[in-house]
């Protein structure tokens, strides 16, 4: 579908208008699958690249999901973003609010659903590249306002695993910090085991031991 969109690149007004109107009808009814972590990863990247260009970065957890929708539409018009960027950024911002994973599948005999920690099969490095890099940067020193320098000797990684696991899982905000760390980096698909692996990766890549 996106290929169809991209092919209307040449600005040929009336054909574009005609094609556009017909495609828009389809587009308006195609919701983004917020569970798709690829979209979330691209959305986080696009958000980190575009949403600090004109004003200070607004915290992804500042607004309710339904309010982000008109805001991102407003910003698409203002900043001349593409519809694709708009949908990806919106998916990321909406997922950043999810404190709890959706209850998934597994129902026991008694009919009581168990809280499963559905995990991906990605390695720590892959999770970091997909979900964390947009804010924490390739080198771990932080790519957006408020993201701490993970490589600093007395930085966040000097803390216990317990605290870090909780902060990554539940999200947290230091008083006065310009932005919160979203729960699971805004990717609700990550399970407990994933968080363990990505923390292991942080320690190995940026921690005191690596220096």
């Amino acid at each position: 579908m996106n290929r169809v969109m991209a092919s209307t690149r040449t600005f040929n007004f009336f054909p574009a208008l005609y094609l556009g109107l017909s495609v828009t009808a389809v587009l308006a009814t195609t919701p983004v699958d917020a569970e798709n972590s690829d979209i979330l990863a691209r959305g986080a990247k696009s958000w980190s690249e575009n949403c600090a260009r004109c004003h200070e970065m607004r915290d992804p957890m500042e607004f309710r999901d339904d309010l982000w929708r008109p805001i991102v539409t407003h910003m698409r018009v203002r900043a001349g973003l593409t519809g694709l960027q708009q949908r990806e950024i919106l998916a990321f911002l909406q997922s950043a609010n999810n404190r709890m994973p959706e209850p998934r599948g597994n129902v026991t005999d008694s009919g009581v659903p168990t809280r499963s920690t559905a995990a991906t099969d990605l390695s720590g490095a892959e999770i970091y590249q997909q979900t964390c890099v947009a804010c924490h940067g390739q080198d771990g020193t932080g790519a957006v306002p408020g993201a701490p320098d993970l490589t600093a000797a007395d930085g966040p990684l000097a803390q216990d695993d317990g605290i870090l696991l909780r902060h990554i899982t539940e999200g947290f905000k230091t008083p006065g910090s310009p932005m919160a760390m979203p729960p699971k980096g805004g990717n609700p698909a990550l399970g407990g085991a994933d968080i363990q692996r990505v923390l292991g990766y942080l320690r190995e890549k940026f921690g005191a031991a690596s220096q």
Binding site: F11, A28, D65, L67, P70, G80, T82, P178
Partner: protein
Amino acid sequence: MKRSSRKPFAVFAASIAAVALSHDVFADATYDTLKSQVDNLQNQLREVKDQLKAQEKRVNDADVYELRKRIEQVSAQSEEWKNADSVVHLAGYGDVSYTDGDNQNGAVSAVRFNPIFHYQYRDLIMLEAELELELEENGATANNLEYLTVDLFVNDNLALIAGKSLSPLGQFRQNFHPSWINKLPTAPPGFGHDQAAPVSETGLQARGGLPLGGNSRFINYALYAGNGPILEIVGDEIEAIEAEGRTSNDDDEAVFGGRVGIIALPQLELGLSGATGKVAGEDEPNATRSYRVFGADFAYHWRTLRLRGEYIEQKVGSEVASAAPAAAKWQAWYAQASYRFAPTNWEGAVRYGDYDSPHDSSDQKQWAVGVNYLFSANAMAKLAYNFNNAANGSAADDDGFQLQFAYGF
């Protein structure tokens, strides 16, 4: 559980036997003690049985069913918000400024409230409207429709926009002017109303983005056809060019123009603007003359450092039939840097600006230096000092400072 519940029975049976055998032998007191012990044991037994029953009852199918229904209801309700076809949203900003200068009294000099209303139908249409309510010197309130547009999303790369919009030329007016975004309390010289930079336009716009291979590099564009500005003529001179969206077009000639921005790196945007058309004086609609705009701008940010700069000029040609026959040109540029001293919330800002108009008396060169405190991304306090250089004795020549509180929502 079974084994341990047998024990009280054994004790109970033994006690009964003992009581039966020795009733005559023991005194009544002993009998009473034993009886109360037996009663106690019976009570305890009953409690244990009740507890067992309660535990069995705690979770049954009907309860689970009820709970599921409830969860479905609640989650359907919470999805309602997200999936409604029509959304209403209130945004905007407000600010309060205090000014004190060389030849003026210190006063609270501006109180403004700019609500923005958004109505969105699916991903198809959005209506955006901003009002500006501003307190005037005499305490009355001025109101102004800053913009009102209906935006139709044609496809991923094109939106059609009709109505009054902020001028798509240049970047200060459309991207940076709201007080919670502007790093200094004032607009750069030449970027205010009726100066070098057009403020707004009524007409039709095509806006959108085109990817340049991948998602990170792209072009944004805004092309428009509009009613264009009007000239204010006083005596034999053009007093000002009023480049504000209006719902009349006295000279019957449209203005065409636009801006193209290139995001070559995610941190850097470069823009070029231009417009062309005809313009006439307010009271002489037939004395039309050429109108041209040219602009160039850049915005760069890296971590908490922001660099911005912009040049804009508006030119009108000569026209013999006009009371003010001479050609005229307004031009302005500024360069600005701001830096937040992370991890603190303090920010420094400095800007140089130069405005040149056909009237030497309104020309101005200005250094503005400011210190900001960011309470959050959308709320800040700004303190700035302006060093102005203009025609001697003019108000534009007075140095002064401003204190401003701005909040965007």
